[in-house]
C-alpha cells in the first residue's frame, strides 16, 4: 500500500521563476488563456492570476513595501490544490468523478465528470475551474500518472530552489518542522506551517511554510467543509415544510358546506 504523498511548499525560498507553472502546463498539456495572447495584468509579475481549469499551479507575488519604497519585502508562493484529507470537492461531487487515490490525493476523472461545477463552489481554496477543452472542472492531479510510475510531479521536479518538496507526508512534515525551527533560530519568528496539522480539514496533503497571515497569500484563515451547513439547512427547511403544510391544511380544509369566504366579500 503506497504511503500518503504530497507537497510541502517552503515559500521563503521561492524566487518566483514560474518554472513550476510551465512544467505543469507542459506535462499536463494545459492550454494558454486567450489562445496564448499575452495580456499583462498589472499585478506585479503575476499574469495568470489564479488557479483554475487551465492553471493547476500558480505563483503568487505579494509586494509589501512602505510608501517611500525604502523598506519592504517580496513574498512569493507557488500555490496548488491542497489535496485535503477531508475534501469538500469530493464530498459534494454527485457523479463520483472525484476520487481519492491510493496516494491519498484527490483527482477529478474527466471522463466521468459531467460539468455540474458543484466542486468549484465547494472547494474552500478556490483551486478548481472549468477547462474549456474538456468542458469539465479540472485541477492539479499531483501528477497521478507520473506517481504511478515512480516519478515525482513535474512542478517539484522543475523547482530550482526546492521550494516545492514532494514526498511521503510524514517525511515532509518532519522536514517542514525542522525548517520552521531553523528560520526561528535565525530570527524569522513569523514562520509557521499552514495546513500541516489535522485541525485544518483533516490535514492538507499540500501544506505551506508562511511568514505572514494566510489572507496575505490569498489563503482562507479558516477553511471548512461544505457539509457543515447540511444538517442545519435541512432542519430549517423541514421546519418550513411543516409550517407550510399546517398553513395549507388550515386554509384549505372544508369547514361545513357553507361558502368558502366570509359573508359580505363576494365579488
Amino acid at each position: 500500500m503506497p504511503q500518503p504523498m504530497g507537497f510541502f511548499t517552503d515559500t521563503t525560498v521561492c524566487i518566483g521563476c514560474k518554472a513550476c507553472e510551465v512544467a505543469c502546463k507542459e506535462w499536463n498539456q494545459l492550454p494558454a488563456r486567450n489562445g496564448g495572447v499575452g495580456i499583462l495584468s498589472g499585478d506585479s509579475y503575476d499574469n495568470t492570476r489564479q488557479l483554475d481549469g487551465i492553471h493547476w499551479r500558480h505563483v503568487k507575488f505579494i509586494e509589501q513595501f512602505s510608501a517611500d519604497r525604502q523598506d519592504g519585502r517580496w513574498l512569493m508562493m507557488s500555490d496548488v490544490c491542497k489535496h485535503c484529507a477531508h475534501a469538500g470537492c469530493l464530498e459534494v461531487c454527485p457523479t463520483g468523478a472525484i476520487i481519492r487515490t491510493e496516494f491519498d490525493t484527490v483527482v477529478i476523472q474527466s471522463d466521468t465528470c459531467n460539468g455540474c461545477r458543484d466542486c468549484i463552489g465547494a472547494c474552500p481554496f478556490g483551486v478548481i475551474g472549468v477547462n474549456p477543452v474538456s468542458g469539465t472542472p479540472q485541477k492539479c492531479t499531483l501528477c497521478y500518472d507520473r506517481m504511478k510510475v515512480g516519478l515525482e510531479p513535474a512542478c517539484a521536479k522543475a523547482c530550482p530552489t526546492k521550494s516545492i518538496n514532494f514526498g511521503p507526508i510524514a517525511d515532509l512534515k518532519e522536514m517542514a518542522r525542522g525548517r520552521v525551527g531553523q528560520l526561528r533560530e535565525a530570527g524569522e519568528n513569523r514562520a509557521y506551517l499552514y495546513g500541516a496539522d489535522e485541525t485544518m480539514l483533516g490535514g492538507l496533503n499540500s501544506f505551506y511554510l508562511l511568514v505572514d497571515k494566510p489572507e496575505v497569500y490569498g489563503l482562507p484563515p479558516d477553511p471548512r467543509l461544505p457539509s457543515r451547513n447540511l444538517e442545519p439547512s435541512a432542519l430549517w427547511s423541514t421546519l418550513g415544510a411543516v409550517v407550510l403544510s399546517i398553513m395549507g391544511v388550515f386554509h384549505f380544509r372544508e369547514r361545513g358546506s357553507g361558502p368558502g369566504r366570509p359573508e359580505g366579500v363576494d365579488v
Binding site: N114, G126, L219, L230, S237, G248
Partner: protein, 296 residues
C-alpha cells in the same frame, strides 16, 4: 473576512436561476394541488387540476435547463448511474446528488398525476388514469409521495447553495427555508393567475389567495432572518443587489399583501398581485445567486 471570500464561483447563472424558480413552481403547485385535493372541497377541483396540469410540464423544463447548463450535457445520466459500473449513483450527503434523484422521482409522480388529471375529463379515457385520481387509493399514494418530493424539490436548491463554500450562500443556513417559502407563495400565485385566466370566480380563488398572503408573510420573515443570519457579511449587499432585494421585498411581497389585504378591489385585475409575487420570486433567486457569483 469570512473564509468563503477565498473561493471560486461555479458560474451558476441564468439556467440555474431559472431551474430554482421553476423547480419551486413545479414542486409548490403539486404540493398545493394535493393539499386542496385532500382537505379542500369540490369547488377546489379546478385548482387541483390546474396544479397537476402545470407541475409536469414545468418539471420537464427544469430537467432540460439543468442538462443544458452542464459542461457535458450528454453525461447528464452520470448523476444517477455510475458511468463505470452502471450501479445507482447516490450520495445522500450531497444535495446535488439527492436532488437529482428527487427531481427524477418527482417527475414520475407529476407525470402520473398529469395523466390522471387528463383522464378525469376522459381525454384520454384511460382506466389507469382513474386509478391514479387523487381520491383513489393508488392516487393517494402517488400524490402523497409527490407532495413530499415537491416540497423537497422546492427547498433543496437553497440547501444546495448553502452546502458550498461560497460567500453569502455558505454564510447562512436559511436559504433552503427562504426558497421553500418563496416556492409556496409563487406557486400559489401561479395557480391564482391561471385560475383567473381560465375563468374561475374570485370566490373559488379566495382560499388560495388567503394561503398566498400567509405564505408571503412567512417568506418575509424568512428573508429577514436570512439577512440577520449573515451578520456583517450582509454588507456586501450595500450596492445594486441590495437595492434589487429591497425592491423585491417591497414590490413582490409588501405590495401584493397591501393590494390583497382585507376586501379585494373589484375593479382591479386579478393578475396584478400574483404577477408581482411571481416576478418577486424570480428576482429573489436572481439576487441570491448572482450577488454571490460577482464576489469571485
Amino acid at each position: 473576512m469570512s473564509s468563503t471570500f477565498f473561493t471560486a464561483s461555479p458560474q451558476w447563472r441564468w439556467f440555474i436561476i431559472t431551474y430554482f424558480f421553476l423547480g419551486g413552481l413545479a414542486g409548490g403547485s403539486y404540493f398545493l394541488a394535493t393539499l386542496m385535493a385532500r382537505f379542500g372541497a369540490e369547488r377546489d377541483r379546478p385548482l387541483v387540476r390546474l396544479g397537476y396540469l402545470v407541475a409536469f410540464p414545468i418539471v420537464c423544463v427544469c430537467g432540460l435547463v439543468l442538462t443544458v447548463d452542464l459542461g457535458r450535457p450528454e453525461r447528464f445520466w452520470h448523476m444517477l448511474v455510475q458511468s463505470h459500473t452502471f450501479r445507482p449513483m447516490l450520495k445522500t450527503y450531497s444535495p446535488m446528488s439527492s436532488g437529482a434523484w428527487v427531481l427524477l422521482l418527482f417527475s414520475g409522480c407529476a407525470f402520473l398525476s398529469f395523466v390522471a388529471t387528463l383522464a378525469e375529463r376522459g381525454r384520454p379515457d384511460w382506466a389507469i388514469g382513474r386509478k391514479l385520481a387523487p381520491a383513489a387509493p393508488l392516487g393517494r399514494v402517488v400524490t402523497g409521495l409527490g407532495a413530499i418530493l415537491g416540497l423537497y424539490l422546492a427547498g433543496y436548491t437553497g440547501v444546495l447553495l448553502s452546502v458550498t463554500n461560497r460567500p453569502i450562500w455558505a454564510d447562512t443556513t436559511l436559504l433552503g427555508l427562504t426558497f421553500l417559502t418563496s416556492a409556496a407563495s409563487t406557486s400559489a400565485a401561479l395557480l391564482i393567475l391561471l385560475g383567473a385566466w381560465s375563468g374561475l370566480s374570485r370566490d373559488r380563488l379566495y382560499r388560495l389567495e388567503r394561503f398566498d398572503r400567509s405564505a408571503l408573510v412567512v417568506e418575509a420573515l424568512a428573508i429577514a432572518a436570512l439577512v440577520a443570519s449573515l451578520g456583517r457579511i450582509a454588507t456586501v449587499w450595500l450596492n445594486g443587489w441590495g437595492v434589487l432585494l429591497a425592491v423585491m421585498i417591497l414590490g413582490g411581497i409588501a405590495l401584493p399583501l397591501l393590494l390583497d389585504w382585507g376586501r379585494p378591489a373589484e375593479n382591479r385585475p386579478a393578475w396584478i398581485a400574483p404577477g408581482l409575487v411571481l416576478i418577486g420570486g424570480l428576482v429573489l433567486r436572481m439576487v441570491l445567486v448572482l450577488s454571490s457569483d460577482r464576489l469571485s
